[in-house]
Amino acid sequence: WKKDEFRNCNQTPFCKCARTRTPHSLPRLIVSDLLISDGHLTAHLQPSLSSEDDVSAGDTPHPRPLVLRLSVYQDGILRLKIDEDYSAPSAPSKQRFEVPDVVLPDFEDRRLWLPRVSSTEDGSISSLYLSDGFEVVLRHDPFEIQVRRKRSNDPIISLNSHGLFEFEQLREKKEGEDWEERFRGHTDTRPHGPQSISFDVSFHGAEFVYGIPEHASTSLALRATRGPGVDHSEPYRLFNLDVFEYLHDSPFGLYGSIPFMLSHGLKGSAGFFWLNAAEMQIDVLAPGWDDSAAAGNDRIDTFWMSEAGIVDTFFFVGPGPKDVLQQYASVTGTLAMPQEFAIAYHQCRWNYRDEEDVATVDAGFDEHDIPYDVLWLDIEHTDGKRYFTWDRVLFPNPEEMQKKLAAKGRHMVTIVDPHIKRDDSYYVHKEATDKGYYVKDATGKDFDGWCWSGSSSYPDTLNPEVREWWAEKFSLKNYGGSTPSLYIWNDMNEPSVFNGPEISMPRDALHFGGVEHRELHNVYGLYFHMATADGLLKRGNGKDRPFVLSRAFFAGSQRHGAIWTGDNSADWDQLRSSVPMILTLGLTGISFSGADVGGFFGNPEPELLVRWYQLAAYYPFFRAHAHHDTKRREPWLFGERRTALIREAIHIRYSLLPYYYSLFRKASISGIPIMRPLWLEFPEDKKTFDNSEAFMIGEGILVQGIYEEGQKSVSVYLPGEQSWYNMRNGAAYSGGQTHKLEVFEDSIPSFQKAGSIVPRKYRFRRSTTQMANDPYTLVIALNSSLAAEGELYIDDGKSYDFEQGAYIHRRFVFSNGKLTSSTIHSASLREKKFSSSCTVERIILLGLPSGAKKAVIEPGNHETEIEPGPLTLRGGASSVALVIRKPNVRIADDWTIKVL
């Protein structure tokens, strides 16, 4: 952690200045010229002039009004845009940057046509219909936007309630004025001068706010950064940065940025998203920050500052937390459905050095009966960090190497970073130079920065033509040594520039269309990720789902692939912070995410490594990775006992793959993450709101991490009214209570919720590929009324045929002593079919009173036995449940099984 290398708020003029402002100290903004046009509400915003100004109004030019536009979308979404009035006579020649490609193209189709606006008699307030039960209220003087419940008039979210709205309009440079900014020897020319925006947003009825990744923290709920009780804190910074050895708890910005915040409390949830890719700083204000005597506990005020761009904000009314996530997903999209292999276990290291090393590691997994699906190659596999090439001494036959892995159903991932080596004999560089595809420096020359490849330039992937070109590089023909089983990893795409300001690109670098880097910095990584994923999509003729892991991200990155939390360290605190970090990513759309197992920097103690595997087996993205200075840490290097423990942890993930895959499908449709904070499932249980240690996988599984060395016992809060079944030994625990549990070496506490059905596979293979035809086990945890339900989604795990209906989607319901499997296949999608001959080999019933001996299967009136059995098939496992033996029904069919 090189603190001095990064700008803090005080070293950042727009942040320093905005942060010192007090409520209502700026000139009031007044709404005028309000009208409905094209189904939007538009108006002007004009600063009020104090009487003094009126008198002296001679030489100071009258400020241009701002243009405000309100639009309403289906399901309770309000969009507020505020920008310069480019039609005004003194309008600036430069357009401020509006982030394209993040909002889904079909979002506009969901816009509600506003027929009219109703105003109060005195004209001081206008209101708009938002959705059933919610409305938007626009106060004219001073300007304020409020989303509120219709009948009770209870506000939910409001903007500018504290009069902190400030919009620095573009203007001509005055004589003698110095716009340059300097930081640690770097000079930002700032040719367009100050252009920052800041405003306050209040979440009413909120007890906690969450979101705005990426920050490392051991707390899921965002802590106050300013106000009473806060000593001194930086605001939460959103600025994509490559931070060396980041701290486990800090508001400083990391690799990605999503300016989306959610609030939650007993009164409901709400969300606010500011589509802006410039540097952003966000304060969470402690109650009483504005010296108001009535510091209520039911409101959280926040203060948002950005260096450039426009106001393009989205208000989500909820009212439930899942509603907010779905509303946000309808703007920025849901995760791209990954291939099945991608959600299994990945083995990575900087670096697997050569083909022999790859073969040895691959063999090691087989030798120790540990499944894995993907072997990764880091930067050293290339010829001098020229991506798309191979070090032919170390990797003389890359195709053959990949084919050997593929023969066992395994895949490979290679790294492709955005820094292109400035070497005229390197075709990528030559083409990019010739075609003018690089980002330019402030003088218009190709920007030349230093990264792994030495002197490097960066493709300007903001330009669709450049993305097209970049995507072509991934064709099997262009990428020599690649095969169809090779997928991609994008690292360093913040972008990381070793000799740039804050290890990144200068803000005055120029992109396509004259856009300054400062305006799009946070979205650069997304564009690079997008272009790479497009490349893999093209490579497979649109039939093979891409897999691209990226470090940098922005709102919408979920549509392009997986994200990981970057270069973490091998210590217990970082194990702990991985959970809130991944949960936060999930809440802000990035459901497919994980942290490096074991910690990237440093050598984990074996106990930490084992605990990390046990926790990470539940991460949506499950990959082990390590820095090249660390000791080898393949799972079998720590003695037989540890090998067995790690094998078991990885087996747990593989056994749950049917459940995970179904959750991925759900997330790809709804935007509800795979790994969830407890309060997402138990929104009315206050005790869950600030829990950062435990999480849910889907609706049925609760996991509590073990974050301390040698921990002997742990307190686990199990929410809700139903019981929970310990997944290790089947023991039942009542809900709504905190249980003190003994901690075991062999697993971390995990529970299945009574009332849920979890589909699993209890056969272990080398990789997911060999599991395709294996039979299922259904684990049914009955609730107090002896009922349960669950789902299973299956498709070919690879193609897009599911979009034409080639999938199996089952719903399982257990009630009245009968388990029923029925289809929930969308009837409108029947163009293609997916069939499976898989059967159910075992049904485990937890919570069924003993006495059942037989089950009758319909159709066929076929009987099978019920007998006591274990929860897992491990040596020493004892009988803790009733097991229906070999019902052997086909997973694709409709059937019922009655317990007698």
């Binding site: 230093w450 820095h627 200075d629 660390t630 209890y762 070999k886």
Partner: protein
């Protein structure tokens, strides 16, 4: 008991068949019993896999493939019907899409050939090993005898040195008295002369100093030259002050060594203090860097290779430190070896020096020194056998000393210069003999303390180094001493001898040079049976943790040979029907 149907036989080790005969079968872990019809019924009843040897139903199960024509193996149940052919007879894929052909005969043939070759190697190796062990034990016994002899000789020599020292001190005292007296007399005479000549002398001295300085800067041989010159100077210059020559010389040499080793440790300390400083200290200073330098600097945090890669001059504190660090490290390396060289050459020169004056012991001396100098681990024996085994040399010394001592007349004043010189020389010679003998004793003691294996089969490793060239590096492994990685003139210490591991199958070298941002380097050499001592496959699987393979007859063990022969026998007896083994 009913016979077991064929399908149920799947995956069962023939040795286990009887276990599965009864109608109710126990799980091997004792957890429960199951009816025979549940054997291989694709449902896991015993968590240990007893009931599903032929299917993938139990995760802890093992599947036995017969592999007729090759070696039978047991595979994890996870491989059964997984679409990948794991058994060469294809029996693991009896119900999958995989189209496995039986490759056992071909594969078995190759394996048998390989095994036969291996057995041949073991047989031959075993013979070599026996010879070596015999030789080693003899040599070891001789070492022990030599050591005993050396120790008793040491005693005698010590006494002689003691006597000579006493005499010498007496002479010193007498001479000192004479000198003081003479000085007094000359003082008044000289005072006048000095006054007039003062200027000239001063100029001369300065000149002398300059020459000395130049010598010092000559590099590795500088010290040596000075030592020799000053020795010679003294010889020529002062008949009168020759008293201190030899002693001074010895003293000087000693000091030199001390100094240089001090220097090293200081440098070492400095660098280790400065590494952490780098981390904290870079605020502000990066501003003066060129853009490329800054890029390299930041990159080096992740790679830890920055120091090596940064060859350009870098006007920055941080990089400077890093460079210094690496150059210190290099110097350190160079220094150590140079110091070694110095010492050797010093010895050499000692000899020459002595030889110039006295060739009485020339033969003994130079030859014994040569074997010593040629370095502990390059020549077979650091101790000169002639010297140790010849009883005469010690007698000779004794006689000489005796005669010298007797010849000296203490009552004659002034002291007879030639006699005094004689005594002094004899003292110097004898005490240097003693110190050499003592160093031989200590090195031999050191050697004999080593663990040379159960049968002393590694005895001859002690004085040998083994080299292997891999790409640009030459790996030099000196068992019981150290291992290094050499690239051109730079060499990196991979580790010092630690011990054997895994009952003499692995040689461990630890505490090598520290990796920047990483662990201390270390090396593990895995030994295997071979006809020659040869290093191969040096590897660095984890950063700065090296591994190597070494074949040696020392590992060609009888037990292992028997094991291999048994294995071959088994392979040959398990021919599938219809095949004739041409062996």
């Amino acid at each position: 008991a009913t016979p077991i149907p064929n399908k149920q036989l799947l995956g069962i080790d023939p040795q286990d068949l009887s276990f599965y005969k009864s109608n109710v079968i126990k799980c091997k872990d004792g957890s429960k019993k199951f009816a025979k019809e549940l054997l291989n019924d694709e449902f896991c009843d015993c968590p240990d896999g007893t009931d599903e040897p032929g299917t993938s139903a139990c995760p802890e199960g093992k599947f036995y493939c017969q592999n007729a024509g090759h070696t039978p193996i047991k595979i994890f149940s996870s491989r059964v019907n997984d679409g990948v052919c794991d058994c060469c007879d294809g029996s693991d894929e009896y119900n999958s899409n995989a189209n496995c052909t039986n490759t056992c005969w071909e594969a078995g043939k190759v394996a048998r050939e390989k095994l036969k070759k291996k057995i041949e190697t073991f047989k031959e190796g075993l013979i070599i090993r026996k010879e070596e062990v015999e030789k080693a034990n003899k040599a070891y016994a001789k070492d022990e005898a030599d050591l005993a002899k050396l120790k008793s000789d040491e005693k005698v020599l010590k006494e002689l040195v003691q006597k000579l020292r006493e005499q010498k001190e007496r002479i010193d005292k007498l001479e000192e008295e004479e000198r003081l007296k003479k000085e007094k007399e000359e003082k008044s005479l000289r005072e006048e002369e000095e006054k007039s000549k003062e200027q000239e002398i001063k100029a001369d001295e300065t000149q002398n100093f300059d020459t000395m300085d130049n010598h010092e800067q000559d590099g590795s041989t500088g010290n040596l030259d000075i030592a020799v010159e000053s020795g010679n100077d003294n010889m020529v210059e002062s008949k009168k002050a020759s008293t201190q020559t030899a002693e001074q010389h010895v003293g000087e040499g000693h000091d030199d060594t001390l100094e240089s080793s001090d220097g090293i440790s200081q440098d070492g300390e400095i660098s280790s203090y400065e590494v952490p400083k780098q981390d904290q200290d870079d605020s502000g200073s990066t501003e003066e860097l060129s853009r490329e330098e800054l890029g390299r600097l930041v990159a080096s945090r992740w790679t830890s290779e920055g120091a090596d890669q940064t060859t350009d001059k870098i006007g920055n504190v941080e990089e400077d430190l890093m460079d210094q660090d690496s150059s210190v490290a290099h110097e350190h390396k160079g220094y150590t070896s140079e110091t070694d060289d110095d010492r050797e050459k010093d010895d050499d020169d000692d000899d020459n020096f002595e030889d110039d004056r006295d060739d009485e012991f020339e033969d003994d001396h130079s030859s014994s020194d040569a074997s010593y100098i040629a370095d502990e681990y390059e020549k077979p024996d650091p101790l000169d056998s002639i010297e140790v085994s010849s009883p005469t040399w010690l007698d000779k010394i004794q006689q000489t000393v005796q005669s010298v001592l007797q010849a000296f007349n203490f009552f004659k004043t002034p002291v007879n210069v030639s006699d005094a010189t004689h005594i002094r020389k004899e003292y110097d010679d004898t005490s240097s003999k003693l110190s050499k003998m003592q160093s031989r004793i200590s090195s031999l003691t050191e050697k004999l303390k080593r663990d040379f294996g159960k049968e002393k089969e590694f005895y001859f490793f002690y004085d040998q180094c083994f080299e292997s060239k891999q790409n640009k590096y030459v790996y030099k492994i000196c068992p019981f001493k150290q291992a290094s990685q050499d690239e051109g003139y730079s060499n990196t210490r991979l580790g010092s001898w630690d011990n054997f591991e895994e009952s003499y199958r692995v040689m461990v070298f630890n505490n090598g040079e520290k990796c920047w941002n990483g662990p201390d380097r270390s090396l593990k050499v895995r030994l295997r049976c071979g006809l020659k001592n040869e290093i191969s496959d040096v590897d660095e699987p984890s950063r700065c943790e090296y591994t190597a393979l070494m074949s040696t007859p020392a590992l060609c063990l009888e037990d292992k040979l028997k094991e291999l022969e048994k294995k071959l026998e088994q392979m040959n007896t398990r021919k599938p029907q219809g095949h004739h083994d041409e062996l």
